[in-house]
């Protein structure tokens, strides 16, 4: 963690902010705040330089054009790559998740990604829209993933990453696995926004970013009710 406060950077909200993506930043800040951890949230627009010294970076979803533009600008800027090399945490959703890979498909063509995760994305046979649930990689120690997805892409994982979850409802990467992670980098197709339905995942990111091995629990009654309600809604 930086010396004075936990610094959370939301990357390019002007380009990538579609499905309540601001929520992930608000939730992380609120949960850190509730533990007495000072937080600084920074929204960096695509015409600004990306600071490379923050603790946690967020990338949201977006349309094809802005996604391609964001990739080009992030590769030119280089700030995120330096931050990742320093060990910063990255949490990426949907188009932002695709960006972390080697390439993605937008506007009918393949674009180079940021090459931070060993994966690539192409166009699927149909748009994946609906509830997305799955069992999360046990090494992460999290309860099942609960979310909503809306994307046209399919993502193929290489040996350098692990799937975030095995899909029980929805499509995710390819109908079988969903999302990916390696070290402090985590990507998912789930929005809702993702962390509103998965508070334990928010706390995992906070532990990664602060280095704390334990965070005191918070009252998650409403989030638990929401998770339960969604679980019942998708049950066969």
């Amino acid at each position: 963690m930086s010396t004075e406060a936990l610094r959370i950077v939301w990357i390019y909200p002007d380009l990538l902010s579609t499905y309540g993506d601001r929520g992930n930043m608000l939730i992380l800040a609120a949960r850190a705040h509730a533990r007495g951890i000072p937080v600084e949230t920074i929204e960096v627009r695509s015409d600004q330089r990306l600071p490379d010294s923050a603790d946690l970076y967020l990338i949201g979803g977006g349309e094809d054009g802005p996604q391609a533009l964001a990739s080009q600008r992030l590769n030119t800027d280089g700030g995120l790559h330096r931050a990742v090399a320093r060990g910063s945490v990255v949490f990426a959703v949907c188009a932002g998740y695709q960006l972390l890979g080697a390439s993605f498909f937008a506007k009918g063509a393949s674009f180079p990604g940021l090459n931070l995760l060993d994966l690539y994305s192409d166009r699927g046979p149909s748009r994946a829209v609906g509830e997305l649930h799955g069992t999360i990689d046990p090494r992460l120690g999290l309860p099942p993933l609960s979310g909503f997805e809306n994307h046209g892409g399919r993502t193929h994982l290489g040996p350098g990453v692990s799937p975030l979850a095995q899909v029980t409802t929805g499509i995710g990467n390819d109908g079988t696995s969903e999302g990916a992670w390696r070290g402090n980098l985590l990507g998912t197709y789930s929005h809702g926004p993702a962390l509103s339905r998965n508070p334990a995942m928010a706390d995992l990111l906070l532990r990664w970013a602060t280095g704390a091995s334990y965070l005191p629990p918070l009252d998650d009654t409403w989030a638990d009710r929401l998770r339960h309600e969604r679980q019942v809604a998708v049950a066969p």
Binding site: R45, S46, D47, N150, W222
Partner: protein
């Protein structure tokens, strides 16, 4: 009108009447659907010979349509799709039902603007705004602006009345030969930070905006909302006395006056007629029940929630959220809305997706109470004003509890 169109029109009216008689709704979709089956060009035939205005945009369509009808009724009879059935079936049904009228004012779903332009050959089209709405099935904002731009390019003869405060609308309309620009202020900016022309950053200062990278900038508006009135292109200010709340409705009134001016109606004459509009398909309706004065506000997407907060008085407020098909299944937009204007008010929540709302309000730091029914909400608040803000089907549910108030 060709014989086939006459038959189609007559069958369409009958089917709509049968549907109403059978209690199947207002018949405004089924009648048009059958009419178009018999004669696919029925809408074209029904529109021929009328002076038509189209009203489209993400928010404010129904209200602006109703205000425009009120403004035009001073000069002649007006056909309109008052039930909010805003796709070609609804237009067909409305025109068939109205019989011959000199004027028609039609609310048009954003996705259907190209087709309805083609089929109704309007004299004027009003473009209100574009923002995110039901993204699980609707087109994204930039794509919608592109569709509008292409549609208008095929109709250079149409007079466009467009919102100068919305960069996406401006870009869609600016190539048209005849544009009247209006300015009504815009609270929601989160779908227009990126220039639709070049991808540069849009910069805003006060009410003005411009692209930092290309010449796209806010056009000088001809009609401007000022205080509780509207300044017309001659510089004259007209007080707008509405029975509808909120600054946004003064903006809708300005748009209605600008459209009416294209039909030769002077704003000084039209403005008085606007106060005849009291509620719009239950929206803004006020109902008294057990000593509670209930006002219904519909808010379907982030931009319209911001406007609803502006309209609601500082009174106990019930928020109701569903995510059924007409609402869109995705509730993530709740996090695009900043609920802090509700801070300090007593907030109750209900609806199918109340838990999504609960988590959102918790993150927003706003205390709330969860109630499972509308009746429980009424019981929980003291006599006096109760503001109700709900999204589409949640609104209809509560409206049904209040005996389909209009």
């Amino acid at each position: 009108m060709p014989l086939r169109a006459k038959v189609a029109s007559s069958v369409s009216r009958t089917a709509a009447a049968l549907s109403r008689a059978a209690g199947r709704g207002d018949g405004s979709v089924i009648g048009g659907w059958i009419g178009l089956k018999i004669d696919p060009e029925l809408l074209t035939h029904l529109a021929a010979g009328r002076s038509v205005a189209l009203i489209s945009g993400t928010n404010g369509k129904t209200t602006t349509t109703k205000l425009t009808v009120a403004a035009l009724e001073g000069v002649g009879r007006v056909a309109t799709n008052a039930f909010g059935a805003n796709m070609p079936t609804g237009h067909t049904s409305a025109l068939a039902k109205a019989g011959a009228t000199p004027y028609a004012v039609l609310e048009v779903d954003e996705h259907y603007l190209a087709r309805v332009l083609e089929e109704t050959r309007p004299r004027a089209v009003a473009l209100l705004n574009l923002s995110r709405d039901q993204l699980d099935r609707a087109k994204e904002v930039a794509m919608m602006a592109q569709m509008w731009r292409e549609a208008l390019a095929n109709h250079p003869d149409v007079h466009v009345v467009a919102n100068a405060d919305d960069p996406m609308v401006t870009w869609a309309a600016m190539r048209s030969p005849a544009v009247t620009w209006f300015s009504a202020g815009q609270r929601w900016h989160d779908d227009s930070w990126v220039c639709p022309e070049c991808g540069g950053a849009i910069e805003r200062a006060g009410g003005d905006w411009r692209c930092t990278n290309c010449p796209l900038r806010r056009p000088r508006p001809h009609w401007v909302v000022e205080e509780d009135g509207v300044v017309d292109p001659t510089g004259a200010w007209h007080q707008v006395k509405l029975q509808l709340p909120g600054t946004v409705n003064i903006g809708n009134a300005a748009t209605a006056l600008a459209v009416a001016a294209q039909f030769g109606v002077r704003p000084a004459d039209a403005v008085l007629r606007l106060s005849s509009v009291t509620s719009v398909a239950g929206r803004y309706a006020q109902v008294e029940r057990d000593g509670r004065l209930i006002r219904l506000l519909l808010a379907k997407n982030p931009a319209s929630w911001l406007e609803a907060f502006d309209m609601a008085e500082a009174a106990p407020t019930l928020l109701s959220i569903n995510a059924r098909d007409p609402d869109g299944l995705d509730t993530s937009w709740l996090f695009d809305v900043d609920f802090s204007p509700l801070y300090g008010r007593r907030v109750l929540i209900t609806g199918d997706r109340a838990y999504d709302l609960a988590v959102r309000l918790q993150v927003n730091g706003i205390p709330f109470e969860h109630v499972t029914t509308f009746a429980d909400a009424l019981e929980a608040v003291p006599p006096g004003r109760l503001e109700v803000i709900a999204n589409y089907t949640a609104f209809q549910d509560i409206r049904a509890e209040l005996d389909r108030v209009n």
